[in-house]
Symmetry: C2
């Protein structure tokens, strides 16, 4: 009997990849508009490489972009990038389509909800609070607070303990087969792989750990009903039997 549904945050609840791409494109566009002496495609390509090498939470992307393009340091150009990046991120931050309807429906059906995510804790909370998602969730666990990253079992076990359910009573929904699906299955949870965003066709070697695959969040309530129905058809549990 599933009692709790855990979600990953980026590209499961929040439409992160699309937003980041828009923000980066707008940043480069504004840098070119303010005098960056290279064309958009060259600069954007170099930025993507830089992000791949230094990670998306590196906070000197535009600064280093100038170095890589061999352009003398110019705070005006960096500021032009920063402004458009932030404006885009604040103006276009969105949930994945259907998230709020789904969360309401799950709450109405009596499920408790949680978030299990990696990432910078302040940035993750910024997304949650800006979108006013916090009231939907009983538990928000950011792996950084335990000093580990998914799929480390500790983060999943801690989430289960905090919310007070056994692994077989919990479902994990996420877009990453390795971090989310392999990680959650590994501690005994039921898993749904949400095929969305930049990981939609990656890490397929972990596909076996997914109990279900869905292409849209709308499929989730049906899967849940199926799961709980299947279990009750398999026979009433002991307490009811003894009654």
């Amino acid at each position: 009997m599933i009692k709790v549904v855990f979600f990953d945050l980026d590209d499961t609840i929040v439409d992160t990849t699309r937003l980041a791409e828009m923000a980066r494109r707008n940043a480069i566009e504004n840098m070119v508009r303010h005098g960056l002496p290279v064309d958009f495609d060259t600069a954007y390509g170099e930025l993507l490489e830089l992000i791949k090498e230094y990670g998306s939470n590196f906070n000197r992307h535009f600064d280093y972009l100038l170095r890589r393009l061999e352009i003398p340091y110019d705070p005006k150009l960096v500021a032009a990038g920063v402004i458009s990046y932030h404006n885009t991120k604040f103006a276009y931050l969105r949930t994945v389509r259907g998230v709020r309807r789904l969360l309401l429906e799950l709450q109405k059906d009596g499920y408790r909800l949680g978030i299990i995510t990696d990432g910078d804790p302040i940035k993750q909370w910024e997304k949650i609070l800006r979108l006013e998602l916090d009231p939907y969730f009983d538990e928000v666990l950011i792996s950084d607070s335990l000093g580990v990253k998914k799929p480390h079992p500790r983060i999943f076990k801690r989430a289960l303990r905090d919310i007070g359910v056994k692994p077989e009573e919990a479902l994990m929904v996420g877009d990453r087969l390795y971090s989310d699906i392999y990680g959650a299955k590994n501690v005994g949870m039921t898993t749904i792989w949400f095929r969305y965003g930049k990981y939609a066709d990656r890490e397929l070697e972990y596909l076996d750990y997914a109990d279900f695959t869905m292409n849209s969040l709308e499929e989730l309530p049906g899967i849940l009903r199926g799961l709980n129905l299947e279990e009750s058809e398999a026979g009433p549990d002991k307490e009811i039997h003894a009654d």
Copy 2:
């Protein structure tokens, strides 16, 4: 004959003190709303002390605020502060009343314009670009690029050299008697102290270095007319005399 007018940025062109106060108040309010377990006045007072000690460009204000209040680290509370701080700064960034009208008028009268400011270069350019002030100015000099701060003479001399005028052809307008007025006078420029913002009643020991004092930017064109008229009444210069 004054040919160039230099301005300080914060609390002369940009209404910085008022904005910072709003942003900090809104940040604390949002932290309290999200569960900060102390009252607004206590938290706000502690934040102001912290800023005094660590400086306004320290980027872990809300983080350190929790430490000072002896509250366990909570990224949700920090994010609540950061969100409201940024929202306020982006939504309420304004020039000091009358700036655009003044800059247009000065340009129409043939003056070239410059900014001489301290501060983090990217943050200063963010204000300038967000307000679209850059097209008004021939020169923006941020002291950080020379490794000095106002009133160091090097920053004023560099501005004069870049724009190609002698000190007696340049006017400096600023709200800080020590950094702006003493600094500019020291290299031979004419100075106007703009009595505005948190420095309106401070550093008065440097008042002697101000050639003029004004309480509103609207007074500037009149002062300039007086200065240039006075000089032409004092006698035509040599070239005209020889003509």
